[in-house]
Symmetry: C2
Subunit: 470 residues, 2 copies
């Protein structure tokens, strides 16, 4: 764990009265043992090992409410978590307290097919929801790769491969229920597709990373399954030509549901892991939705666009099984890449920039990484201007760690200079707090702190995350 985090670790003992009351309230469901807490000491980030001091698996919103009321009374931190797939340190218990595990709250409460929406508990995962929707002709599009929980996806304002067509969580949540720091249960939003009825509290909670409340119920938009789809692969000798195709494709108004970029290293890793035999060059994977006739027409347009950008290989297919294999491989790129340097730790960057500057920023980052000599890959949801750099480092080597952080920082600074975001979808957590001032400026940060203070006066909700100290 880096020094900066270890200095922030604070572990007041849990107050005795809190333990007694929590035991009275939850019985054996609340666990204080070191072995129970050790299971909740990390996320996917390997930023550090930060165990909580207690663990509660919530069964329902009443559990969450009772726990928060107690924590509020005794000023005990609460760190809510869903699937645990965070990679920026969101769910590490920096200041101890209670890990609130929502993974058992995994009921799909209602599917309103006629209203194109579903209401779920926060522990429901996106694959689980789509499985349940299979016979409705509808689907839930937000796809961050990991089989994340919808609660976690709300809390980090997640997005993913289909955002270019269907939007991120920000655009796909109709209503929320959240338990506030003092245990009160708040509903916000409604089941109508739009509303102009006061402050947008749903959007305040979406992306709040557990610092304002615990999301206990979510109503999301559903979309009609496309009549048919096509997947097109376009390979390029260089990264720049690949990425520059994106804006042209978007300007044509094609029904692009996904536009993913994989650099040569990513394609190699995916090939090795899944045996796909793809050309080992920079590549765009694009998915088009529509009627069979419109797909043919769109593929033709796309083929011309890619050729104009000196694409070296283009192929398109309409087979669903093949398409699913391809996207499964894409989603395993992270783990495939990890295997390129066994035992390595991955440090990922997630930046989002205005489209006109995407090619230049990706190419600059590529050049930096080549100069630095660390194994790396760049891939991303380029239709949104969002990309990830993944660096594989030897964690025991402080030089590599520092080099990786400095490459990460370069990308973020370029994104900020371009008017972009220091995180497109992974969130701030612990790892990106240091960029919040440059991202938002002093006034917006001050307003964020005011809102935090008014909703969570004792700073018990995921303390030390997202907002830098004043």
């Amino acid at each position: 764990m880096s020094n900066s985090y270890s200095q922030q670790l604070r572990h007041a003992s849990l107050p005795t009265d809190f333990r007694l009351q929590a035991q009275t309230c939850f019985g054996e469901a609340i666990r204080f043992s070191a072995s129970a807490c050790a299971q909740y000491a990390h996320d996917e980030s390997r930023i550090g090992v930060m165990p909580p001091q207690a663990v509660l698996k919530a069964r329902n919103k009443e559990d969450i409410s009772a726990l928060l009321a107690l924590c509020h009374q005794y000023h005990v931190p609460v760190v809510a978590r869903g699937a645990g797939s965070s990679i920026e340190g969101h769910i590490l218990a920096l200041q101890g307290g209670v890990a609130l595990d929502l993974s058992d709250m995994n009921q799909i409460l209602a599917i309103h097919a006629g209203d194109f929406c579903a209401t779920v508990q926060p522990g429901v995962t996106r694959k689980q929801l789509n499985e349940a929707l299979r016979d409705t002709g509808l689907f839930f599009p937000v796809d961050p790769g990991a089989d994340a929980s919808l609660g976690g996806m709300c809390a980090t304002r997640a997005s993913g491969t289909t955002t270019v067509r269907y939007g991120a969580m920000r655009e796909n949540v109709l209503a929320l229920e959240a338990v506030l720091a003092d245990g009160r249960i708040m509903r916000c939003g409604c089941l109508a597709r739009k509303a102009s009825t006061g402050y947008d509290l749903s959007h305040l909670l979406i992306g709040s990373e557990g610092t304002l409340g615990v999301i206990s119920e979510i109503s999301v938009k559903l979309w009609p399954q496309p009549e048919a789809l096509a997947v097109a692969l376009a390979s390029y000798a260089d990264t720049k030509s690949a990425v520059e195709t994106v804006a042209n494709a978007l300007a044509c108004g094609l029904q692009l549901a996904r536009i993913e970029f994989l650099d040569r290293q990513s394609v190699q890793a995916v090939n090795r892991h899944a045996g796909l035999g793809l050309p080992e060059q920079a590549m765009l994977i694009m998915e088009l939705h529509g009627s069979p006739a419109s797909l043919q027409e769109q593929v033709d347009t796309l083929r011309q666009l890619c050729a104009a950008q000196d694409c070296s290989h283009f192929e398109a297919g309409y087979d669903l099984a093949q398409r699913n294999r391809l996207w499964a491989a894409r989603h395993q790129a992270y783990f495939s890449l990890l295997q390129m340097r066994p035992g390595a730790r991955a440090i990922t960057t997630d930046a989002c920039v205005p489209l006109s500057q995407l090619a230049q920023i990706i190419c600059q980052s590529e050049a930096d990484c080549l100069a630095a000599g660390l194994p790396f890959a760049i891939l991303g949801h380029v239709g949104d201007g969002n990309f990830h750099l993944l660096l594989l480092i030897d964690e025991a080597n402080p030089h590599e760690l520092a080099l990786a952080e400095s490459l990460n920082e370069n990308i973020v600074q370029r994104a900020l200079a371009a008017g972009g975001a220091c995180s497109g979808e992974h969130g701030i957590g612990l790892h990106k707090i240091r960029f919040m001032q440059a991202q938002h400026g002093a006034v917006a940060l001050d307003i964020m702190r005011s809102i935090k203070h008014s909703l969570d006066p004792h700073n018990i909700m995921n303390p030390g995350k997202m907002l830098p100290p004043a």
Copy 2:
């Protein structure tokens, strides 16, 4: 003006020191005369005549900042306004103070065609922006009918005819700049298409109706102009069949950019006003976007869907000039209907409900209105579940006024019972404050008040609007 509002009117005299300092700061640009103030005493709602005590036409954000700092110091209310097209009383000076007119801040600051976005001052209107975009191949889709200012459209979380395809303001704002109650200037959001970087302050301001800050700059998404478009008209003997077509059309995944419902009375009014010769029945007007080949395919599907719902007349056209005439007529429906009862006042309802309940709720409302015997029309953006009832009443007749308010209330109560919204796009203003408790419940309202208090401790920003007293 109804008694409930006149009781809330409060007009402390402007403090002498405030007047002197404002004159020092703004010179003749700040006006205190009764004649100047009278020009700002009403909106399109005819809810009442509520003049401010001073008027300032802001030239730039520094003017806004200087005014707000002064008003903050002296606890003087500020009511910001753009085009003045509000119909729920948002911009009436209920507690006096300064009317801050933003209509001269009408510069288009930047068009970033390669990033599919534009940055504008708040007084820019949607037509002005689209005129400036004409040669870029892009357009700004949000279309509330009125040529509203983008600042006002943000402040009321506006939407309109194209929301079913392109989203509302909520989905189309990337970044904002706002002047806070104490005069500080805050930037929020960024030019990237998505971001996961802290609390979503942009969405907090969108729909805040001038109660949290004055929006001084807006960056909006732009969309590629469709390659081609088709407009389809479908007429029905009854309202129910027309509205029930909507969910079926959406489930098919057609590229529907607009789905408008006009009842028989609306069609009659539009015919009379614009001489369109449309069949005088309940009608859907639908617009499809896509390639010429895909349009033909989509129109065929739509024709079948409408026929299955006992449509009595269906026609489709691909002519742009004809399409523009039709939508111009649709947008004039409000004024066309007003002419059906000369001298009448229009009371409009704007509710938004889950789609599965739309047909039933519209039909119930229609039956209520027929029973009440007041001239009325129902029309709306039914692809979103959003509809408006327009009642034409003799303002001098208290019986008609009470009847209209009770019909309005019935619709809102049905929308709320269905899990919908008491306003889809017009906002709360003064007229719908009484529904806020039922819409949100006590906890959410309490949180809204906390946020309001922390951003505007002296309650100078559009006081008395949107939030009911605790």
